[in-house]
């Protein structure tokens, strides 16, 4: 669901409109972790790189509203999310942000289909047939009733991506989706993620500590340079 801007029939914005704006965003724990501004265009694919533990995941948590910033603003699809109350923020996140976690974090008690359908329920929508279609399109027709422990790593990746895009969110966040994967497999995950987001016209931010695997993204940003030294 894309709010606040116009799409051409091809699904691309007429002009480069910003989907996400981070202004003077600051978050500290015992030391400043995130400190900077950033803008993401509609449909843009950005890779955030940097060593493990530098704060990349914290930035994703701020963007998704899981963490509240100490200061600064976060405007996503025209909505200033730092002003939303917690309940509003949860629903906003369900509708507008797709999340792919480092180890996919599929819900172990749910089947493949239920994992994807659940986020439709969380978003208050009812386009359940779409969950089945996406999974079938990803070659998981025979695995709809399988539980995560019955899936291969590759199949889990596809379910995680399907779950992230089933609500057609304008923004997909992927936190180290290639961690612990060998290069060919990492490349496969990123390709799947990017292709799927491109088809869904979703912007994508991928956090990765491996700069080689994200070379062909629209932008590759060094997290420490941009968010820890810029301001």
């Amino acid at each position: 669901m894309i709010i606040g801007y116009q799409l051409t029939p091809l699904g691309r914005p007429e002009t480069a409109l910003s989907l996400l704006e981070l202004n003077h965003l600051r978050k500290s724990f015992d030391h400043p972790v995130v400190n900077g501004s950033f803008m993401l265009e509609v449909g843009e694919h950005v890779a955030l790189t940097g060593p493990s533990g530098c704060g990349k995941s914290t930035l994703l948590h701020l963007i998704s509203g899981i963490l509240r910033p100490d200061s600064g603003t976060i405007k996503l699809a025209g909505t200033e999310i730092t002003t939303l109350r917690e309940g509003e923020l949860d629903l906003f996140r369900a509708k507008n942000i797709g999340y792919v976690f480092q180890t996919f974090h599929l819900l172990e008690s749910l089947t493949t289909l239920e994992n994807v359908e659940s986020v439709i329920t969380f978003a208050g929508a009812n386009h359940y047939p779409k969950a089945r279609k996406i999974l079938e399109d990803m070659g998981l027709k025979d695995k709809l009733s399988s539980f995560p422990h019955q899936l291969s790593v590759g199949q889990k990746q596809r379910v995680a991506v399907a779950r992230a895009v089933v609500n057609e969110p304008p923004l997909v966040l992927a936190d180290e989706p290639t961690a612990n994967l060998d290069p060919p497999r990492a490349e496969g995950v990123l390709k799947l993620l990017r292709d799927t987001c491109r088809r869904a016209n979703a912007s994508l931010i991928v956090v990765s500590h491996d700069t080689r695997s994200v070379q062909d993204f629209d932008r590759v940003i060094d997290f420490r340079e941009h968010f820890q030294e810029a301001e």
Binding site: S57, I66, A94, Y99, F101, H105
Partner: protein
């Protein structure tokens, strides 16, 4: 069930930890079943015993305990408090307002089943609200002048007596092989089951008790032994008790006043239900202790639900974090855990009915075997409503702590690798 709904998530989560949750449900079922049993069996047993007078209103017997008199003559338990002269029976039978008076004489047994001497009136002229005394096919009631017996259904089945069987009674109420009487009786009728203490009794003619070898009659105060071929003078006859069917309660109160307050020879147990209910009142402390234990066990079941959920909390932190990251609100996550604990309590409560069924089957079999009384175990009792309701409430409360822990889950901290 809609994927991602709280009910769906809760159900799937319980399925995933099915072993631990199965044990919790079993524990809860035992607790609920026990509570059902304590309250329902007590109530139904009380109802069965209090209403167990077979339509008679009062019992006249020897001076002593009314309860012992009722237990002995109506429930065929306990020893007889003694005998009263035949004249008292005749006087009672002739009083205005006494619709029926049936004498009973006890003192012998056959393999532990009591022989009760009575008149044909017991079978052929019972009170209006007495169970119908029906005989199995081919049987008949005894001839008062012959050595014939009519056997209760349970006594027949357990002793092996059938139509035409011949047996020798044994002296006393407790079976002792050395105490065999010489007289031989023939079974002429088997009663159909009545679900009353009568099912455990072997009835013979009153005259048979009087004339049993070794029996001494003291109706006149002097010892008298019946001789074959000679009638027994009425002044020597005596009975263990007289069952009375009264026209109205006023007659009972009047008789009670005369016999219990003013007289010194006999006791009138009236009304039978009140006498029996006094037992339950006297034993009320035992029921209260059992009730307390039941509450405690329900509380323990609630604690086991809490333990079951708390044990899985550690491994579910990541799951909670993912649910929150995917858009499930804190409030709904809290509700999810409450729902899980409530579902465990609900499943335990439903399974509690199965446990109750097993418990009452055993309990009712024991009570029937010991007393002949069949308790109506599936009669509605409020515990069938408030028991599960209380368990559900305990389950919900047990879910509060895990729910609070889930509510406070550090989402960002648990989303890493």
């Amino acid at each position: 069930m809609k994927s991602g709904s709280l009910l769906h998530l809760a159900w799937r989560s319980l399925q995933r930890h099915r072993l631990a949750n199965g044990i919790t449900v079993f524990t809860t079922a035992l607790a609920v079943g026990l509570a059902f049993a304590v309250f329902a069996i007590n109530a139904q047993a009380q109802a069965a015993f209090v209403g167990g007078g077979n339509g008679y209103d009062a019992v006249l017997g020897a001076r002593g305990s009314q309860l012992q008199l009722v237990l002995n003559s109506v429930f065929h338990l306990e020893t007889s408090p003694g005998n009263i002269p035949w004249s008292l029976y005749k006087a009672a039978a002739g009083r205005p307002g006494v619709k029926r008076a049936v004498p009973l004489a006890v003192g012998d047994n056959y393999r532990g089943f009591r022989l009760v001497g009575t008149t044909l009136d017991f079978f052929t002229n019972p009170p209006e609200d007495s169970p119908p005394w029906k005989l199995d096919n081919g049987g008949r009631f005894f001839d008062p002048q012959r050595r014939e017996a009519v056997v209760g259904s349970f006594a027949a089945r357990e002793s092996g007596l059938v139509l035409g069987s011949r047996f020798h009674p044994y002296h006393g109420l407790v079976f002792n092989e050395d105490e065999r009487h010489q007289e031989e009786y023939v079974v002429v009728g088997i009663l159909e089951p009545t679900n009353t203490p009568v099912d455990r009794v072997i009835f013979i003619p009153m005259e048979g008790i009087f004339r049993m070898e070794g029996h001494v009659l003291r109706g006149s105060g002097e010892a008298f032994t019946a001789e074959s071929g000679h009638s027994i003078p009425e002044e020597h006859r005596e009975v263990s008790a007289v069952l009375l069917d009264l026209a109205n309660p006023q007659i009972g109160f009047s008789l009670s006043q005369q016999i219990n307050r003013q007289g010194k020879v006999a006791t009138l147990a009236f009304p039978i239900g009140r006498v029996v209910s006094e037992v339950f009142q006297k034993m009320g402390w035992a029921h209260r202790i059992l009730a307390l234990v039941s509450y405690l066990v329900l509380f323990i079941a609630g604690s086991s639900i809490l333990t079951s959920l708390v044990q899985t909390l550690g491994s579910r932190k990541k799951e909670f974090a993912v649910l929150r990251a995917l858009g499930l609100s804190r409030r709904r996550l809290f509700s999810l855990l409450i729902l899980e604990s409530s579902l465990l309590a609900l499943a335990g409560s439903l399974a509690g009915f199965v446990v109750y069924a097993v418990l009452v089957f055993v309990a009712s079999s024991l009570i029937r075997a010991q007393t002949g009384v069949v308790i109506a175990v599936w009669t509605f009792h409020p515990v069938f409503i408030w028991g599960p309701a209380l368990m559900l409430a305990l389950g919900a409360v047990a879910g509060v702590l895990p729910a609070w822990k889930a509510y406070k889950t550090d989402v960002a901290g648990h989303l890493g690798g």
